[in-house]
């Protein structure tokens, strides 16, 4: 045949290639393809897990932020309430203190008044006794009635002056 074309040799080449193709496919191509597919699957799985984790993280972050906002609002509310309660308590305490102070003052004034009255009474009694004693003394010394009256009046006047002081 022209160009040295030989049918038997063509078939021998075909046989050679069929053996090679089958061998390479079974020994090399399929195992490597299988490995590549497994690896692809593994990384796709990892990627999917990563995506899911990211999604979950984002969700958790959103939840956390929402909770933070809620907590902040709650804290703010509690703070306001506490401030109000503290203000009320302080006011009540001050009012009580004022009332107590007023009572103390009132009691003290009353005590002072009582003491003054008592002192005055005591003083008057004492003075009366002294006067009587002095009068008796004078009477014993000077038997004049006029002089006794004059002394008595003078004493009364002086006593009144002392009292006013």
């Amino acid at each position: 045949m022209p160009l040295n074309i030989d049918l038997v040799q063509i078939l021998l080449h075909m046989l050679n290639f069929v053996i090679l193709a089958g061998g390479l496919t079974l020994i090399l191509f399929k195992p490597v393809s299988k490995f590549l597919a497994e690896r692809r699957e593994y990384f796709e799985k990892l990627e999917k897990e990563h995506a899911e984790m990211s999604e979950e993280n984002a969700k958790m972050k959103a939840e956390y932020e929402q909770k933070m906002e809620e907590t902040k609002a709650e804290i703010s509310e509690l703070r306001k309430q506490s401030e109000k309660e503290a203000a009320d308590a302080a006011k009540a305490y001050i009012d009580a203190a004022k009332e107590q102070a007023a009572n103390i003052i009132k009691t003290a004034e009353k005590d002072a008044e009582d003491r003054r009255s008592h002192i005055l009474d005591s003083a008057q009694t004492e003075i009366s006794e002294l006067v009587i004693e002095a009068t008796q003394k004078l009477l014993s010394e000077t038997a004049s009635a006029e002089r006794s009256r004059a002394l008595y009046d003078e004493f009364i006047v002086n006593a009144e002056k002392d009292t006013k002081k």
Partner: protein, 292 residues
Amino acid sequence: MDISMVEKKKKGKGKTVFIIVWIALIAGLLAAIFLLGLPEGESESIKVIMKDGVLHETNRISLFGLIEVNPGLISAYVVTAVLLLAAILIRIFAIPKFKYTPGKFQIVIEKAVEFFSDMAKTNSPHKTGFVAAYIFSAGAYIFFSTLFELIGMQWITTKGNPIALPAPLADINAAIAMGVMSYVVILGAGIISNGIKGGLRVLKDFSLPISMSFRLFGALLSGLLVTELVYYFVSLSFVLPVIVGVLFTILHALIQTYVLATLVSTFYGEAVEPPKPKEAKASEADENAEKS
């Protein structure tokens, strides 16, 4: 039954079918070779060295003492043996140690497989499994068999002369075998996928095996001739011819591998493409009518 079990069973069945078809093909080809018988005598002698380089008619090699063949066939068998041995070694020693974070060697193997798988997926999106394996094998064969001539392996011809084994595809019989096989694969895929219509669709590209064969043969031959010319004209230089020869060979190996793989996957993709439904066809026809 579990879905994964069903898939595994399906895969196992597919593998068994593949092995049966493979063995049947080998047996059929062997039978055809022996039925056709051994050629009688030797073809006419040639006088021009270049002609022998092209046609391999003078320097022939005995194949197991049964038949005299072109040196390209011996090259093809040597390449196949080396490739299969390398594949077995890789399968036994390298693949079990493959890691999800690959090393350099693993990357090379993975890239080779991925390159052809991706090409099959791109050009034949409907069915990719078989064509990916086919173009991987064809690509490996063309690439390494073209590089094989760089080794310059010596062999003894039937006349007792030593000869450097050429690239297998520089032999037109190898190129025809590759072209015809590729066409048969495409035709078979068309028939299996789409029945007679699919087969007819492929048959209309009857020039495909011829163009594939002669493209391969022509490319390898032109490389050989150009290299020979460079060797001739710059024979005084001892650097340039070597560089040019090596570069030409490597470029040929890469380009021819890419071209054949692309062509086969593209035609395969067209052959296995499911036919469009009638409604879609009718609407397309209406659109075309409106446009016109």
